[in-house]
Subunit: 452 residues, 2 copies
Amino acid sequence: MSLFITTLKQRRQKLAQLIDIPVILWSGKAPSRNFRANRYPFRASSHFLYFAGISLENAVIRLENGQLELFIDDPAPESTLWHGETPTRDAIAAIIGADRAYPLEELLPKTAHAATIGVQDLATYQQQQNILNRPIFPSNAPKEIDLTLAQAIVTLRLTHDQEAIAQIRKSVKVSIEAHKIGMKSTALATTEAQVRGTMEGVIMAHNMSCAYGSIVTVHGEVLHNEEYHHPLQQGDLLLADVGAETQLGWASDITRTWPVGGKFSATQRDIYDIVLAAHDNCIEAMKPGVEYREIHLLGARIIAEGLVNLGILRGNPDNLVEKDAHALFFPHGIGHLLGLDVHDMEDLGDLAGYETRRHRSDRFGLEYLRLDRPLASGMVVTIEPGFYQVPAILNDSQRREKYQNDVNWEKLAQFADVRGIRIEDDVLVTETGTEVLTIDLPTQATEIERLC
Amino acid sequence: MSLFITTLKQRRQKLAQLIDIPVILWSGKAPSRNFRANRYPFRASSHFLYFAGISLENAVIRLENGQLELFIDDPAPESTLWHGETPTRDAIAAIIGADRAYPLEELLPKTAHAATIGVQDLATYQQQQNILNRPIFPSNAPKEIDLTLAQAIVTLRLTHDQEAIAQIRKSVKVSIEAHKIGMKSTALATTEAQVRGTMEGVIMAHNMSCAYGSIVTVHGEVLHNEEYHHPLQQGDLLLADVGAETQLGWASDITRTWPVGGKFSATQRDIYDIVLAAHDNCIEAMKPGVEYREIHLLGARIIAEGLVNLGILRGNPDNLVEKDAHALFFPHGIGHLLGLDVHDMEDLGDLAGYETRRHRSDRFGLEYLRLDRPLASGMVVTIEPGFYQVPAILNDSQRREKYQNDVNWEKLAQFADVRGIRIEDDVLVTETGTEVLTIDLPTQATEIERLC
């Protein structure tokens, strides 16, 4: 039996050890774009992918006692003309180690008392409710047996087996190549869009897709900037948050920030080195048992300390973090889970990210923290500290008032050429510490300059 | 007033001249991919784009008497952190020449007796039904006032105004660059995916998107092949059907077929020249008043004639077309409407493609014809003849039986290195004939070889 099938069977067995209800998971269908046949690229539900292993459109699996039953229709004869020969149900069943395989119509009699997770594709979500003949709450608010299932899946997917880690490594490798070529291409580029095209072109060339909408921008202070029309100008920093996803669905998530002109200015380098210090110290502090929230607060403290040393913040770093002054410049969390989803299992709301009985803080410095659990061997998380000058934050009159004496606004004005810097790596928690999966992509400012 | 706004106001006026019912059109929302916040790129409904002019997510327009009312919410204050400063409702209203603008909640009291078209995005489609408080049939089967509206929109969108043609030209220009760079990159590429990455990278570099899922394949005989994993081998033909879409939503659609090794073999060139002859003769024959179906049949006859000359088919070309023998090798239509959608208005089923009271033929050679109308000045259509050796067709025992004496199967076997060839251009019907919008991309085999 292949390692692939062995792993899949182990995942199914482990689920059976956690819950004894039958489980039915739908893969979903590709939504249409501007007309029915013009569809977005299909992406199977991650929970389906975890147990089925490969991407299959309009398929269903039923899991019980560690066994997997596959429900999928053989391709219609006329589909061969348009889509070529595609594997039969039986061939697919063999590839994924299904115990039995049936056409979709045979699912209905096997649905009694089954738990499920609502998929994102609305057409399939409605089908789920029709076939199970009961309301299914959205995946971020599952109820009763569906909640039990979601919790069991979280338990499994929180830490990764070797096959999963191998997939993430594959994805990381391609993302690193995209970033390196992106850096090199910047000298000849005149717009953000050109660098994005080069980077995503690399990902496509490896027959992978993007795990999320790429951010490639000289306005890094817009955290989820997905526009690419700005011209590149000497003196700008380019922030690129771009990650590949393998064909089996596993993600990577990397951010680098590099100077458009190939050299950081003194002010850019000062801030860059603070963000890098936070990045390095956070990774250094990670090991099983350590609270991720403490890693976040450590990153915040190092950023605060660095900004005190530069004269941008005033006071004691610990006190500044306690009053969330760091969040003026670092308003997001230090990272998140990574796996089949770039924010792994975020479809389940905070069920995966937050340990039972923990909830999001309403503190300005903590509300966007996506992960609040003790680290465990086999987890993969991102570490992505940043520094941003967000006008909506820094020009907010209430905040200016509150932090009036903590910020040296004149000093800050000298750093106007630093709009946004983020350095993001993917980190595997090992039994003794960590392994930085993205280690082959440099982080040091001097090395970044060499790659540009 | 800008030409852009003038054109939009003309479109709204023309609609008012055709129908006097109020019209409400939704732009839609981006569907989610694997979790809610990880979304596919947003694409506004084409009917919305036609009258509103620009892409606006979660927006509604109400058209009556040539006036446009815009309904859209101002961005939430917290969205500035994640998405930056975005234009206010009033700024958007000025850009698109809206007569009045309101928040979304003010739509409800203005919905009485309004017609609409169901959008592809299911969440919005449900909202349409809730807000209009009546069932809305899917866009390919509109009923009553919605059918009246759809027919009026077809009347307008069938022929393009100057702004629309300018947009298609922009899109064409980028697609041509993508094809040229794709051809040049093939010598160094080892997989289909690499050429695809290069071509789509060019489109992205111009801050455009793909109008449809790219086909870049050495298996051109799979008509809608959207896999890219095959290696490129000397002797293969690479078929690339790749088209850009402008930011305002206007499409282009170009196919070229080139030799991986830079030189067509004698057999490939023989077939290539037949497909090209069909392409050239079809375009030559086009002018206002000519039936597109006749253009299709002309293409079929030239392919049949060419195959007779090569000794692959036997008999009289006209008779061969009459019995659909050409369709063994050219099993799709000669082309389709092009505009805001790559198959323009295909969301309305055959309402746009087929003249009133005409319906799809069940003839093997005609069933996939997407357009059956007399040509008119201002229409843009594709002309895309092809030759394919589709195993599902050629190995079908009924067809082999039926066409046993029409095909010289031994002769055909000599052309095994021609799996699929298609040559596709975008053609504007003018008052006196045509203008090939894609003229800057060569079609001659020798010129293609020079670009490789």
